[in-house]
């Protein structure tokens, strides 16, 4: 039997091989990864030579690497040869023609999240006027940004129009060899966002992937690069409030941030990829590398994330505090319900003098969810007067879930000051009863208590995002109690 199935799978693979055509005109490639596929992607996107070579170098190194196994998550092995690494943005012809054609369950969720009608259509990928509404909105914003000298475009556009900036900064924060998933991303990334804020410019608005029309179709391997030049400020929102209806699918994104002297970057994420159903079937594997480099003096990078989606989350938005007096912040809410698993946290690498970092992590576990905080605070001997404060709280709903904390502290400088606080608590029956005695339903009481638990993180989010995050949390925890 074993031989039979071996033969069968060989046959299947063979078929794929035969089906493989490096036709530049076609929109997808058959599953599988090879140098040919990478060359195809690069050619398809009309990339300059340096980038093709960069991808190939990443790929060759990736072949020598092993998938990390240290995270507190479990999943079936991923067959990297069964993934299709390039597909052009979906044609508008395949998209639903109106909201009537969209899954009603999806619409119900939008309703609960309070997403405006025209937004709903766009999120669901409806190819009608509603979409064009946001196109015109986006165009207006683009004009305003251009006036300020801000470059905000898709990664592909940046490669075409600003290759010198891309070449200068790409891979300088997350090198191609950084880790297994980052190497894979470097080899095959298809698109993403690019931001450049010129010297002394305070970006006139919050930049959001909402405004980017192609954001919905950027695919599994996104690449984002944000460069804040000297004395500039930018706040970037990465929102995926639409649950994506997908089978187990790998998302291996890379985000690189560079802050030069006196620059500030605030990066906020609300992640709600499809988490799988209540039995743990399906859902996204969200294996993301996010890192910011405080390259200049007095620079600041602040990460805020609300992670409610994905079947598995593996992500550690980090800060390299290279410049003297630079500041790194990490504020996180991670929710795991049903069979979701999260292993998330941050790394704060203190290199410069008087560098400061703050870590506030709130993990919420419900159902059979497993939630791990993993954080590294490393103080190098050069980081005189460095300071870190870490607070790591876990909240458990029910008795089938788990919360785990893995803090690593490595201080090699005597004058450094590192503080770590951690708590684990359950929503008590007494708290629930108290709220219910005041007239709240059990579900509302849970939501209120959980939102209270997350308040320190939510207050770091831009206003409109904070409301959305709160609603999202409520939806994510639906049915977690009672």
């Amino acid at each position: 039997m074993a031989t039979d199935s071996d033969q069968l799978s060989a046959l299947v693979k063979q078929k794929y091989r035969h089906g493989f055509v490096t036709d530049i005109e076609q929109d997808t490639v058959p599953p599988g990864l090879s140098e040919d596929v990478i060359r195809f992607i690069s050619a398809k996107k009309g990339e300059p030579e340096f980038l093709t070579e960069w991808r190939l170098k990443a790929y060759r190194h990736w072949l020598t690497m092993h998938e990390p196994t240290w995270a507190h998550v479990r999943y079936e092995p991923i067959d990297y040869q069964s993934i299709s690494y390039y597909s052009a943005p979906k044609s508008k012809d395949d998209a639903p023609k109106s909201l009537d054609e969209v899954d009603p369950k999806l619409l119900e969720t939008y309703d609960k999240l309070g997403i405006p009608l025209h937004e709903r259509a766009r999120l669901a990928g409806v190819a009608v006027d509603a979409v064009f509404d946001s196109v015109s909105v986006a165009t207006t914003f683009k004009a305003k940004l251009a006036e300020a000298g801000v470059i905000f475009c898709s990664f592909s556009e940046a490669v075409r129009n600003h290759p010198e900036l891309v070449e200068k900064y790409l891979g300088t924060v997350v090198p191609t060899r950084d880790n297994f998933f980052a190497a894979l991303n470097s080899a095959v990334f298809t698109d993403g966002s690019f931001v450049y804020i010129p010297k002394g410019v305070r970006c006139p608005m919050e930049l959001s992937t909402y405004f980017r029309i192609n954001a919905a179709n950027t695919g599994q391997f996104e690449r984002t690069l944000i460069v804040a030049d000297e004395g500039s400020h930018v706040s970037y929102l990465e929102g995926c409030t639409a649950p994506m209806r997908d089978e187990n699918q790998l998302h291996a994104a890379v985000v690189e941030l560079v802050a030069l002297d006196n620059a500030q970057i605030k990066y906020s994420t609300v992640q709600n990829w499809y988490p799988g159903d209540e039995n743990g079937v399906g859902g996204i594997y969200n294996f993301v590398t996010k890192r910011g480099d405080c390259r200049g003096v007095n620079s600041k990078i602040s990460w805020t994330q609300v992670e409610t989606g994905s079947a598995i989350t593996w992500k550690y938005p980090s800060c390299i505090l290279r410049g003297d007096n630079s500041v790194g912040e990490f504020y996180s809410v991670a929710v795991t319900n049903n069979y979701q698993q999260a292993d998330t946290g941050t790394k704060m690498i203190h290199i410069g003098q008087n560098t400061r970092s703050t870590i506030i992590s709130k993990g919420i576990s419900a159902g059979h969810g497993q939630n791990a905080y993993r954080g590294l605070v490393r103080i190098l001997p050069t980081a005189k007067g460095a300071r870190n404060y870490t607070q790591c709280d876990s909240l458990l709903l029910g008795d089938q879930c788990g919360a785990h904390t893995f803090p690593y502290i490595e201080s090699r400088e005597r004058s450094a000051n590192v503080e770590h606080e951690a708590t684990t608590s359950k929503i008590s029956e007494d708290q629930l009863f108290y709220c219910r005695q005041r007239g709240l339903s059990e579900e509302d009481a849970v939501n209120m208590i959980v939102n209270g638990f997350c308040r320190e993180v939510f207050k770091e989010l831009p206003m409109e995002f904070a409301v959305e995050a709160q609603n999202l949390l409520n939806v994510s925890l639906e049915g977690a109690v009672g």
Binding site: Y434, R436, Q437, R438, D444, I449, C454, E456
Partner: protein, 251 residues
């Protein structure tokens, strides 16, 4: 208003209330006194619908409804309020936010319009003055870092806002100094009306000097063993509970 008949309640299999009967008419204030462990707080918890109390027999009628059939939040929305002996802390949850949510849940259940933040502030202003609570108090987390006296005043503030038909005050006087006790009593007395009934669970008579009850009941070993007017409370204060227990034992 409230009619408790032959109520038997067990906690984890241990009988606590053993045939308690109590009838409270509209507009009346009844005090339940008794030694520690007699079942006073159990009665308060059962009336509010707390989990973990098993009613083995008997009945509780509230305005003609079977109270025991209702969920805790349904009782609250129908006008049953419990002032907790130990108000619980809820970190991160804004004090005003919880109260406004409770008020609006009650109003929704009664077909009344919702109050917005401005209306809420208008309603609560004079009540906060009465309870001598400052404005910043509203923006703190529910009971977090409150002193014992602040927690109890907050309970009464909530009661003033929710305007219950039946208020059960569980040892609201415990841990209060004389000044705080006066503030709490003033709050409670301001709510006295012919439509509103109250059950004061207390260990000490001093509260009853300030909130004068219509009836006083002595609870011992899960039953009401003696009832009288306010003079009974004074007698208990002077003579303690032993004589009653002796009286019951010899009866």
């Amino acid at each position: 208003m409230l009619k408790v008949e032959n109520l038997h309640v067990s906690v984890k299999g241990t009988p606590i209330l053993k045939g308690l009967s109590l009838s409270v008419g509209a507009g009346e204030i009844h005090a339940i006194m008794g030694p520690n462990g007699s079942g006073k707080s159990t009665l308060a918890s059962v009336l509010a619908g707390k989990d973990g109390y098993e009613v083995t027999s008997g009945s509780v009628q509230y305005r003609g409804q079977d109270l025991l059939e209702m969920l805790p939040e349904e009782r609250a929305r129908a006008g049953v309020f419990l002032a907790f002996q130990y108000p619980i802390e809820i970190p991160g949850v804004n004090n005003a936010y919880l109260l406004k949510a409770g008020l609006n849940a009650q109003r929704a259940a009664n077909g009344q319009p919702q109050v917005d933040a401005f209306e809420f502030m208008r309603l609560i202003k004079s009540k906060m003055e009465l309870m001598q609570i400052s404005k910043e108090f509203l923006n703190r987390s529910v009971n977090e870092g409150f002193s014992g006296g602040e927690k109890k005043r907050n309970e009464i503030l909530q009661m003033l806002m929710l305007e219950p038909a039946l208020a059960v005050l569980d040892e609201t006087d415990s841990g209060l100094d004389v000044d705080a006790l006066k503030i709490v009593a003033a709050g409670v007395n301001s709510l006295r009306s012919p439509e509103r009934s109250m059950v004061l669970v207390t260990h000490y008579e001093r509260l009853l000097e300030l909130i004068v009850p219509d009836r006083v009941h002595v609870l011992a070993d899960g039953r009401i063993v003696k009832s009288g007017d306010r003079t009974l409370a004074r007698e208990l204060d002077e003579r303690g509970y032993d004589w009653i227990q002796a009286e019951v034992a010899s009866a």
